[in-house]
Subunit: 207 residues, 2 copies
């Protein structure tokens, strides 16, 4: 149960706009047509075959003079129905494994200078991403309803990354205060509370 293979639906969604070949799909994803999704050929082709077998997409030899070996896939009515039904169902979330937080959680094992470096690198990455996302927003300023939805998804990324940049700022301050107060010497011993004390009782960070 569970995992209704979301990647399958990402491919169907691309097919819903126009018939495409596996190669086209890869290109569309590389161009970030859906900027928060990626797939490799090793996924795309097998899924396309499966879609055809299930009657959700139709395989068609589409030989142009230029490229004789193209196989385009077109979403069938039943494929479109299944896609729409999936789109309507509540969106699931996935647990995140955030490397930065794992490192920061055990910050007491390394020098505060190293923690600061970690945060600063991370912050710079987020700042760069925000710039790219904002530039992209301008390219979706059209009236088309599809542009409006694209803008919403781009703003999700911007909102999220702006919040993280703010968090980085605050965390840097805190780390600097910690370093000055001298409380920040890295803990060498293995001790510490194995029971209680450091458990959280919250659900995993999910998006």
């Amino acid at each position: 149960m569970a995992q209704h293979n979301k990647t399958k639906y990402a491919i169907m969604a691309l097919l819903s706009e126009a018939p495409r070949t596996g190669y086209d799909i890869k290109k569309a994803l590389e161009a970030n047509e859906i900027y928060f999704w990626s797939e490799s050929y090793g996924q795309i082709y097998p899924i396309l075959h499966k879609l055809a077998k299930e009657g959700l997409a139709e395989k068609r030899k589409a030989s142009t003079e230029r490229h004789p070996n193209r196989t385009v896939y077109e979403l069938t009515p039943s494929g479109r129905t299944e896609l729409v039904e999936w789109l309507k169902r509540p969106a699931g979330t996935i647990p995140l494994r955030i490397e930065l937080l794992l490192k920061l959680r055990y910050g007491h094992l390394i020098d505060p200078a190293n923690c600061l470096k970690l945060i600063e690198d991370y912050r710079q990455g987020q700042v760069d991403d925000i710039e790219r996302l904002e530039r992209q927003l301008d390219k979706h300023s059209g009236d088309d309803i599809r542009d409006a939805y694209a803008r919403m998804t781009l703003r999700y990324g911007i909102a999220l990354k702006r919040a993280l940049v703010e968090w980085c700022r605050g965390t840097v301050d805190e780390l600097e205060a910690l370093a000055e107060s001298g409380a920040a010497e890295s803990v060498k011993g293995g001790g510490g509370a194995p029971d209680g004390g450091f458990s959280c009782g919250v659900t995993l960070l999910q998006l």
Copy 2:
């Protein structure tokens, strides 16, 4: 290259606080001792075996009267060294596949009412998470340096989720405006721009 198996380091980090059994590690992760990380037995035991083989952890039969079959693992000095070195290296990010955004990106295929429902469900989940994270913050109000680092990671989650709740608010407004303006009829035809127009040219959303 690439993937230096982060999960291995998550386990080593837990071991750095105290020797533990595989069962203990699972329990610690379930209690969200590292609230943004999870693992299953199918991962834990093989990794523990590997750690022992590589000399990064030491396997020790620890039979209490109560439970005679415990095998605790203790981080060796070389294990500690490797962990610390990894902690110092810049944190990598991972591409996110956010189901909500995939659905919203193709919102034109479903009714605006469905989009609103999607967002509202998502918003509620984030609000609940924020509450849990905030309750948890209080439990880490100690002076211990480890508490300070735990607070930073919790605040990351809170900052992120608050931003998303704000985004949900704005998006709901926009969706309602869209619905009123009548521009929101779901697109039935397959048409649309297969080339250009909807590509983004940004890197994938990463954390």
